[in-house]
């Protein structure tokens, strides 16, 4: 049996670890709350933009009189030859299976698109590191490039997730739009962890371009949370005082949905078609911005859950070690008594 001193040393070490994991859990919970608030604050703009686009789409003037079609470079459908995949992971680890799951989904996507030219843009250090090990880094391919079909890493954003600001999303969106308009890419997908609340999360592959329908994200693939994950997330959230349900936004949502859609005859300063052309690119920026905000919230939630599990495991180990230590001590005392007693008997 191990000696008491050794066990005591191990208990002390596990206790220290538990202190760290517990602190990390609380920090993640605080960051999660902040991330949720930011996502909430970003809702009105996104919804108003969606609302005005929807109301513009419902107007006849913006359709081409000859073909009756809605014309916009971002609505153009081409055979999918060159695909851009934007992968959003975290910058840091220790978040359970968060990064691994996203990258698994990305790899599945790449498998499904094999035979096509796929370019990857990685946001987040973890994803960048993983993808860079597997694929060549290359310059974005031009429309008339003769380079062989391949999967390449064409861009990365690392260390930006700490403080997500809108320009990050809008610059990325502008770059994507320019390439799409020039027919360098035929479709754009986004892989990320969607986050509505601690218990309403899923991993999605969303088609950004071509735009299918405004106000309804085109989800190509979604993986829901497993029951076991949900249970652990609930426990962790309750322990850290994080709300399980998303805040009630019905009233604000209703107001936003009425934006530019009041039952009145608006004067249009610009023709609706011009407005539509100017607004649609912003819709893309907003979708990316939201994906980033939600991914960050999901990452903090995943870390919070992972650290809760780690803390529980440490507690269990401390209990087991304490028991072992007491047994060892008892055994030692018993042995000593036996020695004394048998020594006395020998006299």
């Amino acid at each position: 049996m191990a000696n008491v001193l050794d066990i005591r040393r191990r208990i002390r070490s596990v206790t220290n670890t538990r202190q760290i994991t517990r602190a990390m859990k609380m920090v993640s919970a605080a960051r999660l709350r902040r991330a949720q608030e930011r996502a909430l604050a970003a809702r009105p703009y996104a919804q108003m933009l969606t609302s005005v686009l929807k109301s513009l789409v419902s107007r006849a003037e913006i359709y081409d009189p000859a073909s009756g079609e809605l014309l916009h470079p971002l609505l153009v459908r081409r055979p999918e030859q060159n695909v851009l995949l934007v992968v959003i992971t975290g910058d840091k680890g220790l978040a359970g299976a968060f990064n691994a799951n996203i990258l698994k989904a990305a790899m599945r996507f790449l498998e499904a698109k094999s035979g096509k030219n796929v370019e990857i843009e990685a946001i987040g250090r973890k994803g960048r590191d993983f993808l860079r090990r597997r694929f060549k880094t290359a310059d974005p391919r031009g429309a008339d490039s003769t380079a062989p079909v391949a999967t390449t890493l064409v861009g990365e954003q690392v260390g930006v997730l700490n403080r997500i600001e809108y320009p990050l999303a809008s610059e990325l969106a502008e770059r994507i739009i320019r390439r799409y308009t020039h027919a360098e890419i035929d479709a754009v997908y986004l892989v990320f962890n969607e986050f509505k609340s601690v218990i309403a999360q899923r991993l999605v592959v969303e088609q950004l371009l071509p735009v299918e329908q405004i106000g309804a994200p085109a989800i190509a693939e979604a993986t829901e949370m497993r029951l076991e994950e949900k249970k652990r997330a609930i426990e962790a959230a309750r322990g850290a005082g994080v709300a399980l349900r998303p805040a009630d936004t019905r009233e604000a949502d209703a107001r936003a949905a009425a934006f530019a859609a009041a039952p009145v005859d608006y004067i249009y300063e610009q023709p609706p078609a011009v407005l539509f052309r100017a607004l649609l690119p912003k819709y893309l920026s907003i979708q990316i911005f939201h994906a980033l905000l939600e991914s960050v919230a999901a990452e903090h939630a995943a870390r919070m859950t992972a650290m809760e599990s780690a803390t529980n495991n440490a507690s269990e180990m401390i209990d087991a070690l304490t028991l072992a230590m007491n047994r060892a001590r008892q055994a030692k005392i018993t042995k000593e008594i036996i020695e004394i007693v048998s020594g006395a008997a020998a006299l």
């Binding site: 009105p44 108003m48 608006y266 004067i267």
Partner: protein, 136 residues
Amino acid sequence: MAETFQLEIVTPEKLVVRDSAEEAQIPGRNGYLGVLPGHAPLITELGAGEISYRSGGQLHRFAMAWGFAEVLPDHVTVLAETVERADEIDLARAQRSLAEAEESLKSARTEEDVSEAAGKIERAQARLDVSQRQQS
């Protein structure tokens, strides 16, 4: 007729202003618009420029980049991609980006590059103007 209207300025990141205003000036794509209570319903794209409103006799000024506005008789909502309160503007940064934009205008080759540089100049200029007007 009501003497004020509700004004909201919203950016992608948050709600910046929710206030009742007596009048407002917004930088429409085709020129500045003055809005008073009871304005006819209107929808317009906004350019870079100054957005200002008067509330309780106090004038508030902001610099904004691209945006979009809905005007209703008792309610004005402005969606703006970026909004900065006049006293929050970073003058040095605005001057720097103006210089940069002028530089890239010189080296611009395509139509796109030119309009991008022009947009950047517009935005930087709007910041500088608002900030200077605030100080005078």
